[in-house]
Structures are given as structure tokens and as C-alpha cells.
């Protein structure tokens, strides 16, 4: 079984090497299919490994294996350790499964791009890094994976590197993630100082011995990493900008896998977080604020991908609420279903953009449901799942989180519950605003010009792009059935062993109640969206003319977070650097010592010109005085 996991991990890196070395020799399509094939095999291995894991008794499902020592110094050493348990298996299946579909989709999406081989290599690199992240059995290797996904994310966001905006977004993403890396690194240092080990087993075993303060600080630092990677408040500003990258990337990295790594991290370190209940509360609050804020901002965005990006942020905030409430299974469950429906929405959006020759502004769309019926149908499934409508997958998972909040029955729980429901309303509105503006209402002039021609030549898109969408639609529609309250509980029982302290499990009654309320709220949201957007683009006028103009403006500017960071960090940093360069380093360290030395020698030179003046008489005088002095000295000394 572990061999299969190793193969899963190794395959993508093999793909990277092969594509890097032979890339130019392979035809572009061949490279794409090769990379996809690797992913398919990796998915197969992961699936078989999961089945084998499931066939074991529950106590033996946690497998740790050490390959080799990676780094050592003194009594410190970390190995290339592999950790395979139920949570890892879920992540593995998502990464390789969704990854495979998106690889296939990319073949079609990138077929006209001369750099598609490089794209495929980067994709494989990303998958490798992500697998490393989830398979690692110690913090150092986790950090390595953590950084490498950040690197591949950087490479892929900035894939079209002659687009300055894309490069800027890529750098922003990388730097924000570097802040997160640093957070995890410091957390790791502290844990090592406290516990003397960085392996998961060591940390989990020693977690109980930590004081609450120690555990809280360590958890806070890990949380910084999680927030950065998962684009949660206050480190979320990179995610909307990351939409400058190719759409498959948005689907794979910025929806399905990488951004959920923060949720994975918290779920993985649940024994540690268990020692820090205050941090858990903080996570819930960050989640609630984040999901509301992202939902609000999503209401006014006009870029189709940015709307979905903010919805991603909002959905991950739900997951944070779930894990923050110690209902780890519901958080991971939402992660699982979210991977389907959000990837579906992104890929669908990609098809729309593809059909409109790269246009991303939803105001330039409209009425596309007749031209792109298949895409419309699939995206509708995704939208319903996202809005949490029963019986689509998102409904089950989101309601599982909210039901957990209900069952906790603490102030925090109630905040989460109310906030979550409010978020569900917003989700319904913004999701269907998108759907109505893109597929209903009257077609915009731009779309009228472009679409007939596009559909005539390409249909709704190449089959390599359509099939992954179909498959994801099935997942988005039915993945929730794994966990029907009171009927099936595959996910819960599968994930239960990962937390030694148990999890919050709502009763079936609470779940059904929440499902009912959630669906009603979601439908309300859809109704509002229908009222505002389904016929004409009336809402903007309504908002712009009303008193809500300022709020609208603020939401459009994403509540000024970017401006805040620009004025508090970016610019002061540049100023400081320029200042140091111009006014400190050059004068003080490069010239001052040299000048000082020059002044010193010049001073001595000038002092000696009184006697060293080139006049021979003067030399003779000094000479004579010297002789006199020497004799005097000898005389006096006797």
C-alpha cells in the first residue's frame, strides 16, 4: 500500500522531469496527454491505496514511513517521512482526481498556446508539491510542500508573463504566501524548542504536555500560514488578483486544492489546536467575518472569475468555521464537495470565456443559455450546489457545518450559525446574479457579435474541455449523498479516527432542520437575484442612485484592503529602501570610510609638507637635528 502512495507522489515529479527535458521534442498535444495520463495513473494508485487503507482495521489506518533523512544537525533531524491516513487519503483523491480532470481540460484550453508544454510541466509540479504537502509526516517537509505549492502557484498565475498584471498578481500571491510560510516556520521552531521534535507523531503525542499559552502561540503561527494559503482575512488580497492566471489554474489551485490547504493544516493538527481553544474560537470568528465580507464583495464584482474567487474565499471561510468548531469532518466534507462544484464553476466560466474570446466581464455577456446549453446546465448544477440547495452536494456539506454550530450551542456557535445563514443568503444572491447576468437577460452587444461565430466554429468547446465539466457536474450533484443525515455517514465515520479527542457531531434532527432553513435561505437569495438581475441589468442603477452608493463603491474597491496594504507596507517599504540606498548606505558606508581614510592621509600629508617640502636644506636640517637628538639621547642615558 505504501508503495502505491510513493508511486503517487513520484509520478508527477517524473512528469515534470520528462516534460522539462523532452518537452520540446513532444508535440504539444502529446505533452498534454502525457501529463494527464500520469495524473490518471496517480489517481488510480491513490484510489487503490485508499481502498487498501479502508480494508484495514481502524486502528492500523495510520501509516508512517521514513524514506531517508533529509536534513540533520546535532540531535535535530528530519526525514522524508510519509504519513498516510484517512484525511490524507481524502486529500490525495481530490488532488489526483480533480487534478486529472483539469489536466485534460487544459489540453483543450491551452491548445493554441505555444507554451502549453511548460504549462503542463508546471501543473505536474504543482500536483507533486501538493501531494508532498499532504503526505508529509513532519513539519519541515510540510513546509517544503507548502512553499512549493506557493512556487507553482506563482509560476502558474504568472504563466502569461508578458502580462504585467499577471506578474504583479503572481508576485503578490507569492509574497503573501511567504508570510504564511514564515508563520509556519516560526511555529515549527517554537514546537521544536518546546517538544524537541518536528514529526507529527511527536507533536501530537507531546501536545498534551504543552501549556495553553505555548500551544496557543504555536497554533496562532500555524494559523498565519493557513490564513495566507487559504486566502482568509487578513491575508486574502492575493486571491482575486490570482485570477489573472489561466482558468484551469484558478479551478485547480485557487479553488479545489491549494487554497484548502489551510483547512487541511488545521484538521491535521487538531490535537494541537485542541490545546488552544481560544485559537479555535478565533478561527471561527475569522471564518464568519470572512464569509460575510467575501459574500458582500462578490455581490458587486463584474469579472466572472473574481466573483467565483470571492465565493471561493467565502466557502473556505465556511470550512474554517467547521474546523474551528472542532467539527473537522464537516470542514473536510465541505472541502471535498467544494472541490467539485467550485472546479465545475471555474471550468464552466472558462468555457464561457473561451466562447467569448477571452472576455471576462459579465456585463458583456448575457443570454448565453441558448447558445451554450450544456455549459449552462452544468454550471446551474454547480451554482445550486454552491448556494446550498438540497439535494445538491454543497447543501449537505454546508449544512453539516451549520448544524455543527447549532449543536455546539455556545455563543460562538450561535454567531457561526447566524453568520453562516446570512452568508448562505449572500451566496444565493451573488451566485445567481452571476448565472442570470451570464445566461439569462438580453444578450449584450459584444456577446451578440462574438457568440454566433464562435459557436459555429467550435461548438460549446472542445470535448477535452467539456467532458471534465460533465464529470465534475456528477460529483457536484451527488457527492453530498455520502453523508445524508441519519442515513449515510461515510465521511464522518471515515474521518472520525483522525481526531483523538473526538469531533462535534450534530444529531440527525439538527441537520435536517438546518438543511431546511439553509435551503429556504438559499432559495430566498436566488429569488432576490432573480428579481434584480434576471431580466435587465437594473440593479446597478438601483444601487448607484440610492444611498448605498458609498457602500457600493467600497465593495467595488474590495473594502480597501489592497489600498491599506499598499499604504502601510508596500510604499513605506519602498520609501525605506530608497532612503537607505540614497541617504544611508552610499554616504555612510561606501563613501564615509573611504573619505575618512583619504582625509586622514591628506592630513598627514599636509602636516609633513612643512618638512617634506622638496627643499634639500630642510632634509639636511632634520637630519642634523636627528643626529643631535640621538647623541643627546645617548649622553643622557649615560
Amino acid at each position: 500500500m505504501t508503495e502505491l502512495v510513493w508511486i503517487t507522489l513520484a509520478l508527477p515529479i517524473v512528469g515534470v522531469v520528462v516534460l522539462a527535458l523532452l518537452g520540446m521534442k513532444l508535440p504539444a498535444r502529446g505533452a498534454g496527454w502525457f501529463a494527464s495520463l500520469i495524473m490518471l495513473v496517480a489517481f488510480g494508485c491513490a484510489a487503490i491505496a485508499t481502498i487498501l487503507l479502508a480494508s484495514r482495521p481502524e486502528e492500523e489506518r495510520q501509516v508512517v514511513q521514513v524514506a531517508w533523512t533529509w536534513l540533520s544537525a546535532g540531535n535535530f533531524s528530519v526525514g522524508l517521512d510519509l504519513w498516510f491516513d484517512e484525511l490524507t487519503a481524502v486529500m490525495l483523491l481530490i488532488i489526483t482526481g480533480v487534478g486529472f480532470l483539469i489536466h485534460v481540460y487544459s489540453i483543450g484550453y491551452m491548445k493554441d498556446d505555444p507554451q502549453s508544454r511548460r504549462f503542463m510541466a508546471y501543473l505536474n509540479l504543482f500536483v507533486f508539491s501538493m501531494l508532498l504537502l499532504v503526505l508529509s509526516a513532519n513539519l519541515v517537509l510540510l513546509l517544503a510542500g507548502w512553499g512549493l505549492v506557493g512556487l507553482s502557484s506563482y509560476l502558474l498565475i504568472g504563466f502569461w508573463h508578458n502580462k504585467p498584471k499577471a506578474i504583479k498578481a503572481a508576485k503578490k500571491a507569492f509574497i503573501m504566501n511567504a508570510i504564511g510560510d514564515v508563520g509556519i516556520a516560526i511555529g515549527a521552531f517554537l514546537l521544536f524548542v518546546d517538544l524537541g521534535t518536528l514529526t507529527y507523531s511527536g507533536i501530537f503525542a507531546g501536545a498534551a504536555s504543552l501549556s495553553e499559552t505555548q500551544a496557543s502561540i504555536a497554533c496562532l503561527l500555524l494559523l498565519v500560514g493557513a490564513l495566507a494559503k487559504s486566502a482568509q482575512l487578513p491575508l486574502h488580497t492575493w486571491l482575486p488578483d490570482a485570477m489573472e492566471g489561466p482558468t484551469p489554474i484558478s479551478a485547480l489551485i485557487h479553488a479545489a486544492t491549494m487554497v484548502t490547504a489551510g483547512v487541511y493544516l488545521i484538521a491535521r493538527f487538531n490535537p494541537l489546536f485542541h490545546q488552544a481553544p481560544k485559537v479555535l474560537d478565533l478561527i471561527v470568528i475569522i471564518g464568519v467575518v470572512g464569509l460575510l465580507m467575501a459574500g458582500l464583495i462578490a455581490l458587486v464584482q463584474t469579472d466572472i472569475k473574481r466573483i467565483i474567487a470571492f465565493s471561493t474565499m467565502s466557502q473556505i471561510a465556511y470550512m474554517f468555521v467547521g474546523v474551528g468548531l472542532m467539527s473537522y469532518w464537516s470542514g473536510v466534507f465541505h472541502l471535498f464537495t467544494h472541490a467539485f462544484f467550485k472546479a465545475l464553476l471555474f471550468l464552466g466560466a472558462g468555457l464561457v470565456i473561451h466562447a467569448l474570446h477571452g472576455e471576462q466581464d459579465i456585463r458583456n455577456m448575457g443570454g448565453l443559455r441558448k447558445q451554450l446549453p450544456k455549459v449552462y446546465f452544468c454550471m446551474m448544477i454547480g451554482a445550486l450546489a454552491l448556494s446550498g440547495i438540497f439535494p445538491f452536494s454543497g447543501g449537505f456539506s454546508k449544512d453539516a457545518i451549520l448544524a455543527s454550530a447549532l449543536s455546539v450551542d455556545t455563543p460562538i456557535g450561535w454567531i457561526a450559525y447566524i453568520g453562516g445563514l446570512a452568508g448562505a443568503l449572500l451566496t444565493g444572491i451573488y451566485t445567481f446574479r452571476l448565472m442570470f447576468m451570464v445566461f439569462h437577460r438580453r444578450m449584450s452587444p459584444y456577446a451578440e457579435n462574438v457568440i454566433p461565430h464562435s459557436v459555429k466554429h467550435h461548438g460549446e468547446g472542445p470535448s477535452t474541455m467539456l467532458w471534465p465539466v460533465y464529470i465534475l457536474s456528477i460529483g457536484a450533484a451527488f457527492a453530498g449523498l455520502l453523508q445524508i443525515p441519519g442515513v449515510t455517514h461515510v465521511f464522518l465515520s471515515w474521518l472520525e479516527p483522525i481526531s483523538p479527542f473526538g469531533m462535534v457531531e450534530p444529531s440527525a434532527g439538527q441537520e435536517w432542520l438546518t438543511t431546511l432553513i439553509g435551503t429556504v435561505v438559499g432559495l430566498t437569495g436566488i429569488a432576490i437575484a432573480y428579481h434584480l438581475y434576471a431580466r435587465e441589468n437594473t440593479a446597478p442603477e438601483l444601487i448607484r442612485n440610492g444611498n448605498a452608493r458609498l457602500i457600493h463603491r467600497a465593495l467595488e474597491r474590495r473594502l480597501y484592503w489592497d489600498d491599506l496594504y499598499e499604504w502601510t507596507f508596500e510604499r513605506p517599504l519602498q520609501w525605506a529602501s530608497s532612503f537607505l540606498n540614497r541617504d544611508v548606505d552610499s554616504p555612510a558606508f561606501r563613501w564615509a570610510p573611504l573619505d575618512g581614510l583619504g582625509q586622514l592621509t591628506a592630513f598627514f600629508g599636509r602636516s609633513f609638507t612643512v618638512i617634506e617640502n622638496g627643499i634639500v636644506r630642510m632634509y639636511a636640517l632634520v637630519f642634523a637635528l636627528g643626529i643631535g637628538a640621538v647623541i643627546l639621547f645617548l649622553l643622557v642615558r649615560g
Binding site: L621, A624, L625, I627, G628, I631, L632, L635
Partner: protein, 204 residues
């Protein structure tokens, strides 16, 4: 008798030496040096060093000083250099150095007790005795001196004849002319200055 001769000769030597140093006209200086050499020769005779005394007069007074006088005559009035821009502390330091060394040597020698003059025979200081030494014990030094003299002669010839004024370019001639004009102007003004100073000195 010896004491009288010594003091007379010593007084003459010191007086002529001071004259050499103090005289502005090099011609007078050279003549004073001649006197100095003669008085030293007298002192050497007092020390029974007949050959050295004679050599002193013949070689120095006869040959070297003649050469000096020739050169002084060749150079003419240019050989005369006024006090120039001399700073007083230079003068004082020079005198200090001179007196310091003199006093120190005197102190040293005064404190030392020497044995009496050695007993000597009539052969002492004779050309034969000196010649004997020169061609036996000091043959190498003797030969080295001759080589050095030869080299000095060659150097003198080269310096004296090789440095013929090179042909100057027009610019340089011009520069030189302005320079010498400047020099003349400076000398003239200095002369005026000296004259005024003198007349004022007389006047006061």
C-alpha cells in the same frame, strides 16, 4: 709656543670658517676657505703630520680651490643668492642643530680623559711612512679612491658639457622670456627694496 700657535691658528680657522658661511659673495667665501685650509694645515703641522699638511695645501688650496674659483668666475654674479624667503624658525633650528652637535661633542670629549700624546720617531708623518701605508695596508682603499676620482672626473665632464641647452620651441622660448622677465622684475624690485631698506636704516 705650541699653545700660542694652536690658538692663533684655531682663531684663524674659526674666523675664516664663519666668513665662508656668512659671506654673500662666493668669491670671498672661496678665499676665506683658502685661509681656513691654510690654518688647518698649520694645525696639522703642529700635530707632526707634515705630509697631510702639505697635501692639504697643494691638493686643496692648489687644485680644488682653483677649480672653485674658475666655476665661480664662470657662473658670475648668478652665484650670489640673497636670503630669500627664509623663515626665522629655520634659522634658529639650524643654529640650534649646529650648536647642539658642537656642544655635545665638546661635552663628550671634555669629559673623556685621553692618554698623553704618543712617543713618535722622526719618521712619523713623513711621506715615506704614509706612502708605505697606502700601498700596503690601504691599497684597496687607495685604488677605490682613484676609481672614484676617475668616475667623478667623468661625471664632471658629462655634467659640464653634456647638458647643452636644447633647442626650444617657440612656446617655450616665449615662456622662458616671460619667466626671465619676471625674474628680472623681481630682482629689480628686490634691489629697490634693499636700497630703500638701506636708506631707511641710514636714515634712522
Amino acid at each position: 709656543m705650541g699653545i700660542v700657535v694652536f690658538f692663533l691658528a684655531a682663531a684663524a680657522a674659526i674666523a675664516t670658517a664663519v666668513a665662508v658661511v656668512a659671506q654673500r659673495n662666493p668669491f670671498v667665501s672661496a678665499l676665506a676657505l683658502l685661509g681656513n685650509l691654510v690654518s688647518l694645515a698649520v694645525l696639522m703641522l703642529l700635530l707632526e703630520a707634515q705630509f697631510v699638511a702639505i697635501a692639504q695645501i697643494i691638493v686643496y688650496a692648489g687644485a680644488v680651490m682653483v677649480m672653485f674659483l674658475f666655476v665661480i668666475a664662470y657662473v658670475g654674479p648668478r652665484g650670489e643668492v640673497g636670503p630669500g624667503e627664509r623663515k626665522p624658525w629655520q634659522v634658529w633650528l639650524a643654529i640650534l642643530a649646529g650648536t647642539l652637535i658642537a656642544i655635545e661633542v665638546i661635552v663628550v670629549t671634555y669629559g673623556a680623559t685621553f692618554e698623553d700624546w704618543a712617543e713618535i720617531d722622526g719618521n712619523y708623518g713623513s711621506p715615506a711612512a704614509i706612502g708605505q701605508e697606502l700601498v700596503t695596508n690601504y691599497l684597496l682603499a687607495f685604488e677605490v679612491v682613484s676609481v672614484i676620482l676617475f668616475m667623478g672626473a667623468v661625471a664632471g665632464v658629462i655634467f659640464g658639457t653634456g647638458g647643452r641647452p636644447r633647442r626650444l620651441s617657440n612656446d617655450e622660448v616665449l615662456a622662458k622670456e616671460t619667466e626671465s622677465a619676471e625674474l628680472r622684475r623681481r630682482e629689480a624690485s628686490r634691489a629697490v627694496l634693499d636700497a630703500t631698506r638701506e636708506s631707511m636704516g641710514e636714515g634712522s
